[in-house]
């Protein structure tokens, strides 16, 4: 197990990158704590797979260093880094039995038979595939195959890190949460450093202690699920986490008041003078309908009843405002205003959160 340090890391797939936009991964400094569970979350093309491949050693970065426990491994191959990786499509050796699949990495390292047998049965118990150890790996279902690929990674006691590259893509929906929760409990049992790449917020937030949100080659926030929900560091995080995402409204800010198109909104704290494009962000959960005309006027376009809550699609002038209210909310005709929970308001300047 190891602590992984990324120092001034950047990568471009073009030979002579000229501008920032040529970089698939923009300059990044980060330390991955030993034994923690991380998720790399972002839409497709945000650079998360590039970052993963740099950590696993499949890709050499254009600049910067990768350190495993302070040892520079930037130019070392995958094997020397001693990591395990689980891919999108399950990789199993079809002609071998499940047992031989699990034993394969150990046999290649020429360990003793007794040790291998012991280790294989331990891992099989852990991932709950003991009953199929003597079956051929070929015709098993995708989720079992993915477990076998995982098992082959975990069978080596000395792995520095376990990397997952969208491992649940080909898994049947109703099996997904089973595997997801199993991965999490495995992490607790084993304490390996684990890095999990996905575009699915539920997978990321469920699995990880800390989630690294990426957008357009840039890490926009690293935080716990609570932090991402309550204090998105960037408007992208606000949009991407949660459904519907955070409401973003252009505003101006003076002291402890924000102004949206001439309507005053009281803030929780005083802000110093801020430059740039100022926006106010608030999650749909923290807005409530009101009939009090001192609040922000809105027009209700549609009410969606999704069972456990209602989503009210409204707008203030040209700006959409989504409101989540409880299942039993009655919406009366005079509710033409919305009130914000001021403790949950965030102010953004040029898309980045303004610290209070």
């Amino acid at each position: 197990m190891a602590k992984i340090t990324l120092s001034n890391l950047a990568h471009s797939y073009t030979k002579n990158p000229k501008s920032q936009s040529d970089y698939a991964l923009k300059t990044l400094n980060h330390v991955w704590d030993d034994g923690a569970a991380y998720a790399l979350l972002g839409p497709s093309g945000c650079g998360k797979t590039t970052l993963l491949n740099i950590i696993s050693g499949l890709l050499t970065p254009s600049s910067g260093q990768v350190l495993f426990d302070d040892k520079d491994v930037t130019n070392k191959g995958t094997t020397e880094r001693n990591i395990a990786q689980i891919f999108q499509f399950p990789v199993v050796y079809d002609t071998m039995t499940v047992r031989d699949n699990l034993a394969f990495p150990l046999k290649n390292r020429e360990l003793t038979t007794d040790y291998i047998d012991q280790r294989v049965s331990d891992v099989a118990r852990m991932i709950e595939i003991e009953d199929i150890l003597d079956k051929k790996a070929m015709n098993l279902t995708a989720d079992i195959k993915q477990k076998i690929s995982l098992g082959r990674g975990l069978v080596r006691e000395d792995v520095n890190a376990v990397l997952f590259d969208e491992p649940l893509t080909v898994i049947d929906p109703h099996m997904k949460w089973k595997l997801r929760t199993q991965l999490k409990s495995l992490h607790r049992q084993l304490g390996h450093t684990m890095i999990y790449v996905t575009h699915d917020q539920t997978e990321a937030l469920t699995f990880a202690d800390k989630v690294v949100v990426m957008s357009e080659g840039e890490v926009v926030q690293i935080g716990t699920p609570t932090e991402l929900f309550e204090k998105p560091a960037h408007t992208f995080v606000g949009y991407f986490i949660g459904s519907p995402g955070m409401n973003i409204l252009p505003a101006s800010v003076q002291g402890d008041r924000a102004n949206i198109n001439g309507h005053d909104v009281k803030l929780n704290t005083e802000y110093a003078k801020i430059d740039g494009k100022i926006e106010l962000g608030i999650r749909p959960e923290f807005i409530s309908l009101s009939s009090d005309p001192t609040n922000l006027p809105i027009k209700i376009n549609r009410v969606e009843d999704v069972g456990h809550h209602k989503i009210i699609r409204a707008s203030h002038q040209d700006h959409d405002i989504n409101i989540i209210s409880s299942e039993d909310t009655e919406i009366s005709a005079n509710m033409r205003y919305v009130a914000f929970d001021k403790t949950r308001l965030n102010i953004y300047a040029d898309d980045w959160l303004v610290e209070q």
Binding site: Q85, F89, Y93, D94, T95, F104, P105, R109, M138, R152
Partner: protein, 290 residues
């Protein structure tokens, strides 16, 4: 009522049925017809029953040709299949100009008409003007495919390998290309040796196309005629008289139509039988892995 809707479909199949009837069934029935009759010309035929079949099955000549045929097929397959896989493994994998060039070069022998292949090797092996024959003769190896049986065998085997290994290469290459990169990366992480990568990833993934390659090479080599005929004409003596050459000699050379017809039916059944065995093994090996 339900059935009326499907009647039209039969009319659609009719042209194909007619085509098959004319191209396969009628000629085949003619052969069957010949194989049970004798003729002294003048369009007079006598019923002889299974006499020709008995004669062919007991004839030394047929046994010799069959033995030569099996040896030939076994030799070329033990060379072409591994060689083809080996070449495919060493082909460049990334698409690009270099890869396209390699593919064209590999495919080239397949594009040459069969009798031209024969002619090329006939000239190539000549001691006086052929590069191969001349070179071998020059370095002191006694090589003359028209006189020496070993040299003749050597020539037709080399020729077949040259002509048909490409097919195995192309099929194996297609199989290899379909293996996702993830497998190689996983194998790297597992520290698998080159041999293990071949044994546990590449070979299993190539199995399907390889079985097709084996089947095709078996059928083609078992029926081979043109190329060895052009090069050696079945000689020296009967040294390279393979089954189809023998058949043609019998039918056209000696005009023994009855025995030749019986011969060709036996020939046909042998190929059908072996192909069927191949096919069943193929299907079962797929199931057996389940």
């Amino acid at each position: 009522m339900k059935k009326t809707q499907n009647q039209k479909a039969w009319f659609m199949v009719l042209p194909v049925l007619l085509l098959v009837a004319f191209s396969a069934i009628i000629p085949l029935m003619t052969v069957v017809n010949y194989s049970v009759q004798d003729t002294f010309g003048n369009n007079e035929f006598f019923w002889v029953g299974l006499e020709w079949f008995e004669e062919i099955l007991h004839s030394e000549r047929m046994h010799d040709a069959l033995r030569r045929q099996i040896i030939f097929t076994l030799i070329i397959m033990t060379i072409e299949i591994p060689l083809g896989i080996f070449v495919a493994l060493n082909m460049p994998k990334k698409s690009g100009l270099w890869t396209s060039l390699c593919l064209v070069l590999v495919a080239l022998p397949l594009l040459i008409p069969w009798n031209v292949v024969g002619t090329i090797w006939q000239i190539f092996g000549r001691v006086d003007i052929g590069l191969l024959g001349y070179t071998l003769d020059y370095i002191g190896i006694n090589y003359n495919y028209t006189q020496d049986a070993t040299a003749a065998w050597f020539t037709i085997i080399i020729m077949d390998v040259w002509h048909w290994t490409s097919l195995v290469v192309l099929l194996s290459y297609a199989g290899l290309k379909s293996i996702p990169d993830d497998y190689y990366q996983a194998a790297k992480i597992d520290q698998a040796s080159r041999w293990n990568v071949f044994r546990y990833i590449e070979l299993p993934k190539m199995k399907g196309v390889l079985l097709i390659a084996i089947l095709l090479r078996f059928m083609d080599s078992f029926m081979i005629y043109t190329e060895p005929f052009v090069v050696t004409g079945g000689g020296p003596g009967n040294a390279t008289t393979l089954l189809s050459i023998d058949l043609v000699k019998m039918a056209i050379g000696q005009f023994d139509l009855g025995p030749a017809a019986a011969f060709s039916l036996i020939y046909f059944l042998v190929i059908l039988l072996i192909s069927w065995v191949f096919y069943t093994v193929m299907i079962n090996s797929d199931k057996g892995n389940g």
